[in-house]
C-alpha cells in the first residue's frame, strides 16, 4: 500500500497545488499593496473559461493561458475601479466581482461544454508546463518583491500609503498594479485548471479554490517564497485524500476530504500562535480597524 501511495505523490501534490499556487501568488501581491480581493474566485473562473474557449478555438494552449490571464486582469480592473476610483468597500467589491465572474463565466461557458481540447503534452513524471510556470514564478516574484526598488515601493505602499506618498510615490497607481497582478495570476490559475489540469470547462469548477487562496495568503505570511509550501501543503493534503483511497486505505472518505482544510488550519494556528499577528502589511490591518 505504501508503494502505491507514494508512487507519483510529489507530482500529484504539485498538480493539485499549481493552479492554487498561481492564484495565491497573485493574491499575495494584491494584499501586499493593501487590498484583500475576495473576487479572485471569480477572476479564476473567467480565466478558466476564457483559457478553455481560446484553446478550443485556436488549438494553442499557450494562447489560451494568455487569454486566461487577460480575462483575469480585465475582471480585476472592475475591482480596482470599485475600490480605488469609487472607494467602495473592498470586501463587498470583492464579493461583487466574485459573483460577476461566476455569472459571466457560466454564460460564456455554456457553449463550451463538451468541446475537446488537446491541452499540453505530459512531461517527465507526469508533469506539465503549468506546474513549472507556477513554481518558476515563486522565486521570480520573491526576488522582485524583496530585492528590487519597485518591490520596495509596493511593500511600502502596503505598509503605509501615507508615508509612501510623502516619499513621492503615487499609492493608487501601485495599488491598481497590485490588483492587476492579482488578476493576471488568478486568471492564469483558472486557465491552468481548465486547460491543463482537467481539460474541462464546468460551471463553478474552481469550487472555492480562489477563496482558499485568500486564506492561504495568511498561512504564507504574505511572503511569495512561502506561497510554495502553503500551496503544496494544500495540494499534498488533497492528493493524499484521493491517493489513500486509491491505495486501498480504510479511512473514511468523509474524513479524508477534510484533510486539506485541517492541514491549513493547523499551520495557521501554529504560525499565528508564534507570530502574534505579525507579518502582514500594516495598511492591510487598517482594513480590519474600520
Amino acid at each position: 500500500m505504501a508503494d502505491t501511495l507514494l508512487q507519483g505523490l510529489p507530482v500529484s501534490a504539485l498538480r493539485s497545488a499549481a493552479p492554487l499556487l498561481l492564484v495565491l501568488l497573485g493574491e499575495c501581491l494584491t494584499q501586499r499593496v493593501g487590498r484583500i480581493n475576495l473576487g479572485v474566485e471569480g477572476q479564476m473562473l473567467v480565466g478558466a473559461v476564457a483559457g478553455y474557449g481560446v484553446t478550443a478555438l485556436s488549438g494553442q494552449p499557450w494562447l489560451g493561458m494568455a487569454a486566461g490571464a487577460a480575462a483575469g486582469a480585465l475582471l480585476s480592473a472592475v475591482y480596482a475601479l470599485l475600490t480605488v476610483a469609487a472607494r467602495a468597500d473592498q470586501f463587498a467589491s470583492g464579493l461583487a466581482v466574485l459573483m460577476l465572474g461566476y455569472g459571466v463565466s457560466a454564460y460564456a461557458g455554456s457553449g463550451l461544454v463538451g468541446l475537446r481540447i488537446e491541452g499540453f503534452a505530459l512531461g517527465a513524471g507526469g508533469t506539465t508546463p503549468t506546474l513549472w510556470l507556477a513554481v518558476a514564478l515563486v522565486p521570480l516574484i520573491g526576488l522582485w518583491l524583496y530585492g528590487t526598488r519597485t518591490g520596495l515601493v509596493w511593500r511600502s505602499v502596503g505598509e503605509s500609503p501615507a508615508a509612501a506618498r510623502a516619499a513621492g510615490i503615487t499609492p493608487w497607481k501601485v495599488i491598481v498594479a497590485g490588483i492587476t497582478a492579482g488578476g493576471v495570476l488568478s486568471g492564469l490559475g483558472g486557465a491552468a485548471l481548465s486547460i491543463d489540469h482537467t481539460r474541462t470547462w464546468a460551471e463553478g469548477m474552481t469550487a472555492g479554490r480562489g477563496l482558499i487562496a485568500v486564506g492561504l495568503v495568511i498561512v504564507a505570511r504574505w511572503n511569495p517564497w512561502l506561497t510554495l509550501p502553503a500551496a503544496l501543503l494544500f495540494g499534498l493534503a488533497e492528493a493524499l485524500s484521493l491517493r489513500l483511497q486509491a491505495a486501498g486505505s480504510a479511512v473514511p472518505a468523509h474524513l479524508l476530504h477534510t484533510l486539506p482544510y485541517l492541514a491549513s488550519l493547523a499551520v495557521f494556528a501554529v504560525t499565528c500562535a508564534r507570530l502574534k499577528g505579525g507579518g502582514g502589511p500594516e495598511a492591510l490591518r487598517a482594513v480590519f480597524a474600520r
Partner: protein
C-alpha cells in the same frame, strides 16, 4: 447571480402560465450543460416539451440539496404555475414529500427515491445491467486486472453501479478488483482529474465512474493512456481512445409517459423503474480498444439480459468481507437493491 436567473425564469413563466397547458418544473442539482447527469435530465425535459404541444417547462439549475430546493419548487408552483415537478436529484426527496402535503394538486416526481406520497411518485432507471456489461468490457480489456471507480457519494444508486461494474468485470476475469475513490461532490473536475491520476499511478488501467459529468475523467484517462467506462452521457468523442463503452440515460420516454398519465388524471404515485430493456438505459457503442471477441461476448450477455435469461442481482453473491449476501438461485428484492450499502467481493474501499 443565481437569484437573477431564477427571477428571469419566473418572470417569463408568470406571464405565460395562464393557459390550459400544463407547466412542468425541473430542478437540477448541477448545471444543465454538465455533459452528464443533469444534461441527461434536460434532454428528457426538452423531449417532453417537444412531444406535448402547448406544454411549457421551467428549469432551474445548480440548486443544492438543501432547504433551497423547497423554496425553488414553491416558487415554480406559486409564481410559475407548475402543476408537475420533476425533482431530479437524490437529496430532493424529503423536500418533495413535504411540499406534496402542502400542495396536494401538484404532482411531484422524484428521481430514484424510495418514498412516495399521495401526490409524490418516483422514477428511475436501473443502470445496473448496462454497468455490468460495461464492466465486462472493462474486465476483458484490463491487463492488470486492477480496475478503479471514481464516484461522488456512497448512495445506493452509486454503490450498485460499483458492484455491477465489478461483477461484470469478474465475469471476464475472476480475479478483477475495483478500487473506489470518493470525490465527495457531484461536480469536482480538479478532484476527478487527480483521482484519475492517482488510480493510474497505482497501476489501474480501466476506470469506471459515477459523478455528474464524465468529461474530466474521460479526458484525463485519455491523457494517461488508460481506459474508462462512461456513465449518463456518451463521451466517446471527447476521449476516442480511452472510452470502452458506457451506460447512458434516455429519460424522455419515461418522463413523457408520466406526464401524459398525470395530465389525463390516470396517474397513481408509484416507483416507476426503467432499464436496459425499455430503453431508458443504453449501452454506449464500443470504443476501438474493445476486441471483436469481447464485443460478441458482451452483446450475447446483453441478449440474455433482455430475454431475462440472466439477472445481475441474483445469487450466489458474496460480500466484500467474504460473507454470503444472496443464496444461489434467489434474486435480490427491490428494497434491498435500492438501499444497497455494501460492496461485493473484490471491491477495494469503504462504503462510508
Amino acid at each position: 447571480m443565481k437569484l437573477l436567473r431564477h427571477l428571469a425564469v419566473f418572470a417569463f413563466a408568470a406571464g405565460a402560465a395562464i393557459s390550459h397547458a400544463a407547466t412542468i418544473g425541473y430542478i437540477y442539482v448541477g448545471p444543465e450543460k454538465d455533459y452528464g447527469y443533469n444534461t441527461s435530465m434536460d434532454v428528457g425535459r426538452k423531449f417532453v416539451e417537444k412531444s406535448i404541444p402547448g406544454t411549457k417547462t421551467l428549469h432551474v439549475e445548480n440548486i443544492p440539496e438543501t432547504a433551497e430546493v423547497e423554496k425553488v419548487m414553491e416558487r415554480m408552483i406559486k409564481q410559475g404555475g407548475a402543476s408537475i415537478i420533476f425533482a431530479t436529484s437524490y437529496g430532493y426527496l424529503d423536500y418533495a414529500i413535504a411540499l406534496g402535503k402542502k400542495y396536494p394538486k401538484v404532482a411531484f416526481l422524484h428521481a430514484g427515491g424510495l418514498k412516495i406520497g399521495d401526490n409524490v411518485g418516483t422514477y428511475w432507471a436501473n443502470s445496473d445491467d448496462a454497468m455490468y456489461l460495461a464492466g465486462m468490457a472493462a474486465g476483458a480489456v484490463s491487463k492488470s486486472g486492477k480496475l478503479g471507480f471514481i464516484a461522488a457519494f456512497p448512495i445506493p444508486q452509486v454503490v450498485r453501479s460499483i458492484n455491477a461494474f465489478t461483477l461484470g468485470a469478474q465475469a471476464m476475469n475472476p480475479n478483477a478488483t475495483t478500487t473506489v475513490v470518493w470525490t465527495g461532490g457531484w461536480l469536482q473536475p480538479p478532484k476527478e482529474a487527480e483521482a484519475t491520476n492517482s488510480l493510474a499511478d497505482a497501476g489501474i488501467d480501466v476506470i469506471g465512474e459515477q459523478v455528474d459529468s464524465p468529461m474530466t475523467i474521460a479526458q484525463t484517462a485519455e491523457k494517461r493512456g488508460i481506459y474508462m467506462v462512461g456513465k449518463d452521457v456518451d463521451v466517446s468523442k471527447l476521449a476516442p481512445k480511452a472510452v470502452l463503452t458506457g451506460a447512458s440515460w434516455n429519460w424522455g420516454p419515461t418522463m413523457l409517459k408520466l406526464t401524459k398519465e398525470i395530465q389525463a388524471g390516470k396517474w397513481k404515485p408509484s416507483h416507476v423503474r426503467g432499464d436496459l430493456k425499455d430503453g431508458t438505459v443504453v449501452l454506449d457503442p464500443f470504443g476501438p480498444a474493445v476486441p471483436e471477441g469481447v464485443r460478441k461476448t458482451v452483446l450475447a450477455k446483453k441478449d440474455d439480459i433482455l430475454k431475462d435469461k440472466f439477472v445481475v442481482w441474483s445469487g450466489p453473491m458474496t460480500g466484500q468481507d467474504g460473507k454470503a449476501i444472496l443464496p444461489a438461485g434467489t434474486r435480490m428484492p427491490m428494497e434491498q437493491l435500492e438501499s444497497m450499502n455494501f460492496f461485493v467481493k473484490g471491491v477495494v474501499g469503504t462504503v462510508q
